[in-house]
């Protein structure tokens, strides 16, 4: 939408958000190149020296209850986690904001259908929906992406719905209609950019929620099937014996926090950059 957008984005980004972006890049990269980056196999058990504290013989972040190298598991876990979290968030965002947009903009029966659909989804507590689906289809990555996507789509739908309602009557939207813009164009190019703020704010939240729900499922024993590493799963098992050895818990939680934080910061930066006035103000600094 903006020429030289990225360059501008960087030009206005604060050091913090750049750092955040870097972190994300690192995580993603290590996820992609896990086999080369990871110091050990994430599955290789060495039970005799389980629960090593960080640094102990070559295990930078220590070992878990099966004596597996935590760092390696984090790196491979990133694969699982990012695919699930990003995938689900994407599904939720696309599906949700679509329903919300058309629901609010077209109104009438479309609103009725889309919004009832959303509410029907909402009426299922996420954890329940997840449990049911996982119990039926097992907790494969794809299953999780779809189900978590479904679980979190309503958030975007309702949000978009509310926002769209208040801008749809704006004169510039009318203008677009008056100049024979197709409804998709109006929704996508006119309304969406103007309500992006709230949606972008919702993104990292959803991202966090997906990771948490995945973790919650692991806690209830329905997460990614072991021994495959997933951050959520690691937190869950770390919590079990936190009193004995908190390393696993701390390390894995910290990873999730940092990731969410980074996505949040980058999200904020993008939002500010999407807003012309902000961008000016930023330049002024």
């Amino acid at each position: 939408m903006n020429r030289g957008g990225i360059r501008r984005l960087v030009s206005v980004a604060s050091p913090v958000s750049i750092a955040a972006a870097l972190f994300i890049v690192i995580v993603v990269a290590s996820a992609i190149f896990a086999p080369w980056v990871a110091p050990a196999s994430p599955l290789a058990q060495h039970i005799p020296n389980r629960l090593q504290s960080p640094g102990a013989d070559g295990h930078l972040l220590g070992t878990d209850e099966f004596g597996r190298d935590i760092l390696s598991r984090l790196i491979y876990g990133a694969r699982v986690e990012l695919v699930i979290a990003l995938g689900a968030t994407a599904v939720a965002f696309v599906l949700g904001s679509f329903l919300g947009l058309i629901g609010a903009y077209i109104g009438s029966w479309v609103e009725l259908v889309s919004m009832r659909l959303v509410e029907a989804l909402l009426a299922f507590p996420p954890i329940l929906l997840a449990m049911l689906v996982v119990t039926i289809y097992g907790s494969g990555q794809l299953t999780l992406i779809v189900v978590l996507g479904l679980v979190f789509a309503p958030a975007f739908a309702r949000l978009t719905f509310a926002q769209t309602l208040s801008v749809k009557s704006a004169e510039y939207v009318e203008a677009a209609r008056a100049f024979s813009a197709k409804t998709p164009t109006i929704l996508g190019r006119v309304i969406l950019p103007n309500i992006a703020g709230a949606l972008i704010a919702q993104l990292p939240i959803t991202l966090a929620n997906t990771i948490l729900l995945e973790s919650g499922l692991s806690y209830l024993g329905l997460g990614i099937t072991p021994p495959t590493p997933s951050w959520g799963g690691m937190v869950a098992s770390g919590q079990r014996f936190m009193a004995v050895d908190p390393t696993l818990l701390i390390v894995s939680s910290a990873t999730i926090v940092l990731t969410v934080l980074s996505f949040g910061l980058v999200g904020d930066a993008v939002r500010d950059w999407l807003d012309p006035r902000e961008r000016k103000a930023l330049r002024a600094r």
Binding site: Q45, I47, R50, F66, G138, L222, P227
Partner: protein, 491 residues
């Protein structure tokens, strides 16, 4: 952590109330559908009594009965204590005993004690105190079945469909039950041994979550908890609390013998040798278990069937025809019981170490059970507990039809069945042992299941609690019977 009553003679406190954290909410006690959960056992032990019971040392002793004699292989005579009463004050007569036991013997009621009671052919009541039980075939452990806490005696009113069995002849009576929260037991003065029961009241709170349970004990919300999670043993001990337990249930790998590869005994044997039991022990039980290379509580002959010997395992696989790389197998675990899943995870590593390729799935307990029942696995990990001590009785249940989720799928070995059968029915000790050893031999090579380890099941309590002791082996779950000896010491 070992059993045996601790004899600290500190002075008894004035308020004899024990705050007990149960590891789950028991099902409402009924005489139908005998739920097998430990917490139910604990509740039965406190509320109810049977003809026989396990003493604090784990021996089978008369309970409601004061005398029990075996006349011949299939005939037993009993004399009840005089003036027995149910906790509602009504009298307990031989007739009640007959009705209750026959009720359990009816398969339609699917009582927990059915496997034993089904041997009952008839019961004649001589008078209010005396009665005779005749068995359809000899069963050397019949008295043990009578001692099973679920074989409790109740008023006839409670033998009806859906009736709650909340009136019993036990040391305590149920006074309140808040669903999901807890229940209260008060000392029953109609209990035959009431004078020796010191606790006035037991306040039970349900703590389904292990961590919550442990925390409750540590923070002083409760005095006593059951089913201590293994990762917390040391933590609790170092916090100055008593952790007391005994090895009881044991974990086994069981197979689907109706299809390759495990229809081949050699491959099963390979597994038995591949398992690194010490690892499983560490990983799943934080070392609070003992590695098991055979059949528990069977002395040298039965307990040393296999060893950890990867090379031999590989060798066996070769013999079975897997010359380059072992077969690919589906290892079914369950996610509800973390320790079983952990055992499976460690097992997976062991199998892969000797050349198997393993796909592990781990659905929740119900799904697991269903799949296990249908034999939708190659190998799986289960926890086993016997409700009698006699191997010829409980081994039979484990290795013979009908199929159950905790039995090797489709296994049926006539030679083995015969050996166990004769052992069960033979009253002569040496003969019995001969048949048993024969059975062990068969198991050693035919491997209907591969034992892994035997977990310590522990209780933990604070310094206020005195006089508690734990039963050993398979009787460990009955240890709560011993709360009759417990008293609150004040300090």
């Amino acid at each position: 952590s070992s059993g045996g009553s601790d004899g600290d003679g500190s002075a008894a406190s004035t308020n004899q109330v024990l705050k007990f954290g149960f590891s789950a909410e028991p099902a409402k006690p009924t005489t139908n559908a005998g739920t097998a959960s430990t917490v139910n056992y604990q509740l039965y032990g406190l509320m109810h009594r049977g003809v026989m019971m396990y003493s604090d040392t784990g021996k089978v002793v008369p309970a409601l009965a004061e005398k029990a004699d075996q006349v011949d292989d299939t005939t037993y005579t009993f004399t009840l204590r005089s003036g027995l009463k149910f906790s509602d004050g009504s009298a307990l007569t031989a007739q009640n005993v007959k009705n209750s036991l026959l009720h359990y013997a009816d398969p339609a009621n699917s009582a927990r004690s059915y496997p034993g009671m089904k041997y009952i052919k008839s019961i004649e009541v001589t008078d209010d105190q005396n009665f005779t039980i005749t068995l359809s075939s000899p069963n050397s452990s019949f008295l043990e079945f009578l001692a099973d806490p679920s074989a409790f005696i109740v008023p006839d009113s409670e033998l009806k469909e859906g009736a709650e069995a909340d009136i019993g002849a036990g040391p305590f009576k149920l006074t309140s039950w808040k669903d999901g929260v807890g229940l209260t037991l008060k000392k029953s003065n109609d209990y035959y041994d009431a004078k020796d029961v010191k606790l006035k009241e037991i306040d039970v709170t349900f703590y389904p979550d292990a961590t919550a349970r442990v925390n409750a004990l540590q923070s002083g919300d409760v005095d006593f908890i059951d089913y201590v999670p293994w990762e917390s043993f040391d933590q609790l001990k170092s916090a100055g609390l008593t952790v007391k337990g005994a090895v009881s249930s044991f974990q086994v790998a069981q197979f689907n013998v109706t299809k390759a590869p495990f229809n081949n005994p050699l491959v099963r044997e390979a597994v038995a040798y591949a398992i690194n039991r010490d690892n499983a022990n560490k990983a799943a039980f934080f070392g609070n278990a003992t590695s098991l290379y055979g059949i528990p509580d069977t002395g040298s002959t039965g307990e040393k069937l296999w060893s950890h010997d990867p090379d031999k395992a590989k060798e066996l696989l070769k013999q079975a025809g897997y010359t380059n790389g072992g077969p690919t197998v589906h290892l079914l675990a369950n996610s509800t019981y973390t320790f079983l899943q952990d055992v499976a995870t460690s097992l997976q590593a062991d199998l892969e170490a000797v050349g198997f390729k393993v796909e592990l799935t781990s659905p929740d307990w119900n799904t697991f059970t269903e799949q296990a029942l249908k034999g939708q696995y190659d190998v799986t990990v289960q926890g086993e507990i016997a409700n009698v001590t006699d191997p010829s009785a409980w081994l039979a249940v484990m290795v013979q039809p009908p199929t159950a989720a905790n039995k090797t799928y489709g296994y049926n070995n006539d030679a083995l069945n015969k050996a166990l059968g004769s052992a069960l029915s033979s009253t002569d000790k040496t003969a019995k042992q001969k048949y048993l050893d024969e059975a062990y031999q068969i198991i050693g090579t035919d491997v209907p299941f591969a034992s892994i380890d035997r977990r310590t099941q522990a209780y933990a309590y604070d310094s206020k609690v005195a006089g508690f002791s734990v039963m050993k082996g398979f009787t460990q779950p009955y240890s709560i019977n011993n709360l009759t000896n417990v008293y609150m010491a004040d300090n």
